[in-house]
Point group: C2
Chain length 179, copies 2
Amino acid sequence: MGLARRLSSRRLYTGRVFAVDLDEVEEPGGVHAQRDVVRHSGSVAILAITGDDRIVLVRQYRYPVDAQVWELPAGRVDPGEQPLDAARRELEEETGLSPAQVAPLVTYFSSPGFCDEVMHLFRATALRPVPTRPDPDERIEVAFVSRDEARAMIARGELRDAKTLLALLLESERGRSAQ
Amino acid sequence: MGLARRLSSRRLYTGRVFAVDLDEVEEPGGVHAQRDVVRHSGSVAILAITGDDRIVLVRQYRYPVDAQVWELPAGRVDPGEQPLDAARRELEEETGLSPAQVAPLVTYFSSPGFCDEVMHLFRATALRPVPTRPDPDERIEVAFVSRDEARAMIARGELRDAKTLLALLLESERGRSAQ
């Protein structure tokens, strides 16, 4: 801990993807509080752009929101793994594409009010095909959409995932400042 | 449930801000899985723009990420509350400003891989002052930043909150298409 003083901490749940802690803390400014927190190991997502300027999206069923969701290739950072390596790994596993160039886009907190998840967004180019290794409980559809199609999907409300919207908006801004 | 068949469900934790369920489900495509899910009542955030074209930001300590975070005014949707009313309420509580005009910007999933949180973003203008009613365990600093300052904060990595980044990028895009 840096800014707060943790008076006590109880791990209430340990799952495969996240854990839950109930902490008693003294926060900056002397606020005394009980905080329940979702603990997550961190996530990566990767905006991959093909040689013919298409964006790689994946569609999969997401049980928490009970919907098929279009997203960037993404996943969790494994213990000890660097975010950049995780992003590259997830892209390969989900789409069968390996990038020669990967650069960081932005790193942000997904829901800092109750969850410590940090999302690392990357941008990848110079893609080449490799064998896919999807997780056994994943059913993933891959699509290659033009920038105009991506914009139209946002306008129609078909892109509803935070990281994907954020990466596409950053990419759109980047395109303009390069002009 | 719409797309999945829930075979069993156990509520493992009920907190003030979120709950945790462990569900056994059959997902589309016949995938049989155990899913632990963070259940959240939904959130709102509001991009408020003053008469002299400044953006209203709030800074507060967020225990989950142990950091002082610059964000849009935001909060949870109360049971039975409409998202637009929640957004208006949070703006008033945190900043003492009440908007005459509020329009939806975008609605998205914060972390659809493990959490059902839906974030409703709004845009507010025509602000007038009202008395503030901060929560007793909140210490909130309010700032009014120009568009250039907001852009510089993003470039310096000082804006690290998903909803805030997303709203500012949407606003920036809106500004250009209006030109």
